[in-house]
């Protein structure tokens, strides 16, 4: 019996599960407690699961110190304890598995995590690591609701809006393997934040936002920043919401700010003659994370003391402290990450420094507002009556950051923006919003319409004369136009393509964030490299049996986006009734993307 709507936020640094009963008139959202290891031989049920996985040593495994009495055995230790020891054992800790899921430069099915760890450490793929996290959430649900299997509930899992089709498909794969129901819904995180606001605002949202207004959702998480634009429209006298644009996946977030602050404070220590050792540096990072919130309060003390505790039992004797000036810190973080910039400011694309060894494509430009300026310009955000700002993510617990972002965006637009909501519960808004969405879908509440956040293209080699040593010129045929709605299908008007039976047919696949003008079937002969981004290729092998007489089958493409947001590309025979589904080939992505 379907009784609950469950929202799962699979975060880069934290996972949260919220739920509500479906049969109620007003959803009462609660957070699920997730049983996890908090120390050797110690478990605790907490309201979130840190997205860290520690790979235990064989000795630790045989001693059973990471066994949980109520939960099955896992190959890795997930949660708080893994986060705590991640700094001491980087070679045994998987972090930001989610960011690896959308990193097309690696084989996301290959066992590569923990990244660059020695051979004796068991390794797992980004998909498997994500499965482990989800598995623990599912099991936590099961021990608390044994009579209401998660597989039978209405489950909504959130993904970054900027995840492309391949990354969504991989997330789906991990989720199904972890035990989510086959009809679970993928929802974009910024949309979930909007649903959270809708839940809080109730019917009064129609007073807060008017027709032709836009909502800019700024979701700054621990490691990532996501931008989404939602427009308020009127349809048959009713206000509706439409998601009109989605920004790129930016790998810059709160963790970068903690690190920047830690570097700044370490310099202060050096000035007073204290050199910090590696252990103290980690401890400093921890202190800075905690101090950030009060340092970013609007009115507080002029200076604040940041201390690094002494090691061992010499806690007091070994403690070193330094005074930092609040204004100096605010300047560092606000001007570094949220600089006031002009409307034509663009993020610099210079080479990245420092972070590359981590293997993830971190943003070279940490100025989030410059990314916002570029996003607003690309999406002609000036065509609205009023821009509302909806903030999400733990970073905005610092009031000074909220205010600065508001000021910076007002400056970019040349007119004031309005902040929506009071930003309570910033850590759990996405999970709560996702659970609310399931409830609203079930009960027929307000929904955000949007369709696909990007347009998608299949690369087809042109037939012209072959020139030795040169690849045949490639054309890109639009198979999914921007904004293709959930629950629809489109026949792609193109010439026929011959599929050879028994041999794999491989198609390169591209996504574009800013080609909203392309209709289905539009054929591009040339494009900028920035414009079309190659993702995992699509593949299909026609079975030799199946009653196919010819050796070459002429087909045309048909794209489908299901009610649940799952994209499928099909090849339909033009001479018969048969059709075949193309699958993402994530394994070959590396070869395809490397020059």
């Amino acid at each position: 019996m379907r009784k609950y709507s469950i929202g799962i936020d699979l975060g880069t640094t934290n996972c949260v599960v919220a739920f509500t009963e479906l049969g109620v008139d007003r959803p009462a959202l609660q957070l699920l407690r997730v049983e996890q290891i908090t120390g050797p031989n110690q478990t605790e049920a907490l309201h979130s699961l840190a997205s860290f996985l520690y790979v235990p040593t064989p000795a630790e495994n045989s001693e059973g110190i990471f066994a949980m009495p109520d939960m099955p055995a896992y190959p890795t230790v997930a949660g708080t304890y893994a986060r705590k020891i991640s700094a001491d054992h980087p070679e045994r800790t998987i972090l930001a598995a989610k960011s690896w899921l959308c990193n097309a430069a690696v084989d996301r099915h290959a066992s590569i995590l923990p990244w660059q760890s020695p051979d004796e450490v068991n390794k797992f793929s980004p998909v498997t690591a994500s499965k482990f996290l989800l598995r623990q959430l599912v099991d936590a649900w099961t021990i608390q609701f044994p009579e209401h299997s998660l597989k039978e509930q209405l489950v909504t899992l959130t993904v970054p809006a900027s995840f492309d089709m391949a990354a969504r498909e991989l997330t789906r794969e991990a989720a199904l393997a972890a035990g989510l129901p086959s009809d679970f819904i993928l929802l974009e995180e910024p949309q979930a934040a909007v649903y959270h606001w809708l839940d809080k605002a109730g019917d009064s949202w129609r007073n807060a936002a008017k027709e032709h207004d836009c909502l800019l959702v700024c979701d700054v998480g621990g490691g990532t920043t996501d931008l989404t634009l939602v427009r308020v429209e009127q349809e048959q006298g009713e206000l509706t919401l439409r998601r009109i644009a989605v920004g790129n996946h930016l790998l810059v977030g709160g963790d970068n700010m903690d690190l920047a602050l830690a570097h700044f404070v370490a310099k202060k220590f050096a000035e007073q003659g204290t050199r910090l050792n590696p252990w103290q540096s980690i401890s400093l990072w921890h202190s800075c994370r905690r101090a950030k919130e009060s340092l970013l309060a609007i009115d507080g003390a002029e200076t604040e003391t940041i201390s690094v505790l002494g090691r061992g039992s010499k806690l007091i004797g070994g403690t070193v402290s330094v005074e930092v000036n609040r204004e100096e810190v605010q300047q560092l973080l606000l001007d570094g990450f949220f600089p006031i910039c002009e409307a034509d400011a663009r993020p610099s694309r210079g080479p990245n420094s420092g972070f590359h060894e981590l293997g993830l494509p971190f943003e070279p430009d940490s100025g989030i507002t410059r990314h916002v300026a570029s996003f607003l310009a690309e999406n002609s955000a000036n065509d609205y009556r009023q821009l509302h700002l909806l903030l999400n993510g733990g970073v905005f617990k610092g009031p000074a950051i909220q205010r600065r972002l508001n000021d910076a965006i007002s400056h970019i637009l040349g007119k004031p923006t309005q902040k929506l909501g009071d930003h309570e519960d910033l850590d759990n808004a996405v999970a709560r919003g996702a659970a609310y969405y399931g409830w609203a879908k079930h009960r027929g509440g307000v929904r955000i319409r949007g369709g696909t956040a990007r347009s998608y293209y299949v690369g087809i080699e042109t037939a012209g004369l072959a020139i030795p040593g040169m690849p045949r010129p490639l054309q890109a045929v639009c198979v999914v136009p921007f904004g293709m709605e959930e629950g629809s299908e489109l026949n792609v008007p193109s010439r026929e393509i011959g599929l050879v039976v028994g041999r794999p047919a491989k198609f390169r696949f591209f996504a574009a964030a800013h080609r909203q003008q392309d209709a289905v079937g539009t054929t591009l002969r040339e494009w900028d490299e920035d414009e079309l981004v190659e993702t995992a290729p699509l593949e299909l092998t026609l079975p030799t049996e199946d009653g196919i007489d010819e050796s070459v089958v002429p087909v045309k493409f048909q794209s489908r986006v299901s009610e649940l947001g799952v994209f499928e590309l099909w090849c339909k025979s033009t001479t018969g009734q048969q059709e075949w589904k193309l699958e993402f080939n994530v394994r070959d992505a590396v070869e395809a993307s490397s020059p």
Binding site: Q30, L31, L32, R33, E35, T38, G39, P40, N41, Q42, T43, E44, A45, L46, I65, A67, M68, P69, D70, I143, Q144, F145, S287, R290, T305, S307, L309, G310, G312, S313, K314, L315, I316, G317, T319, S321
Partner: protein
């Protein structure tokens, strides 16, 4: 007065389902359901979110697990057991500030500690006629109808100490020896 309430409750429970449920909840609750404990009631309203308690016999007292957790998350034992004589107040203060912040976070998570009285310190309040000495302590005189709050009191609104799954041999260990391997 109590008999009157009992009669009303009896008939209300007999004819109204939702009233019966509420009464059962009140009876099941071990905490007194009064206005000074709203959080307790809230806690009772969502029993499903709490993990089932284990029937297995614990191999370690929760008190030891609490100490272990306060040491791991806040280094409380390191602070308490360091000799204080050799340090200036400022040095102690700098260390204590960090430890206290972390202790508060940990205690907050496990016990969600809140003031007992709703009024602020210094406010004049009525003395409840039948409050237990655990709840109200009168100072100055042993009886009266009103007074000034000198301490709001504290209450835990939940008790979620981590679960220990280790053996008896290790139950008394509060913090491991740390060895940096060369």
């Amino acid at each position: 007065m109590s008999i009157g309430v009992a009669f009303r409750a009896f008939f209300a429970a007999l004819f109204k389902r939702e009233v019966a449920d509420r009464i059962r909840e009140a009876l099941d609750s071990t905490q007194p359901a009064d206005s000074t404990a709203p959080a307790k009631l809230e806690q009772r309203h969502k029993p499903e979110t709490k993990p089932e308690s284990k029937p297995s016999t614990p191999t370690r007292s929760d008190a030891l697990t609490l100490l272990n957790t306060l040491q791991r998350e806040a280094r409380l034992l390191d602070l308490v057991y360091e000799p204080l004589d050799q340090f200036q107040d400022a040095q102690i203060g700098a260390a204590a500030r960090e430890v206290l912040k972390d202790c508060r976070k940990t205690l907050g998570r496990m016990f969600d500690i809140k003031p007992l009285a709703e009024q602020e310190e210094g406010e004049v309040c009525n003395v409840p006629p039948t409050a237990s000495p655990n709840r109200v302590r009168l100072i100055g005189k042993s009886a009266g109808t009103s007074g000034t709050i000198t301490h709001r009191g504290w209450q835990a609104t939940c008790c979620e100490v981590p679960q220990w799954n280790g053996g008896r041999n290790e139950a008394w260990i509060l913090s491991p020896t740390e060895i940096e391997v060369n």
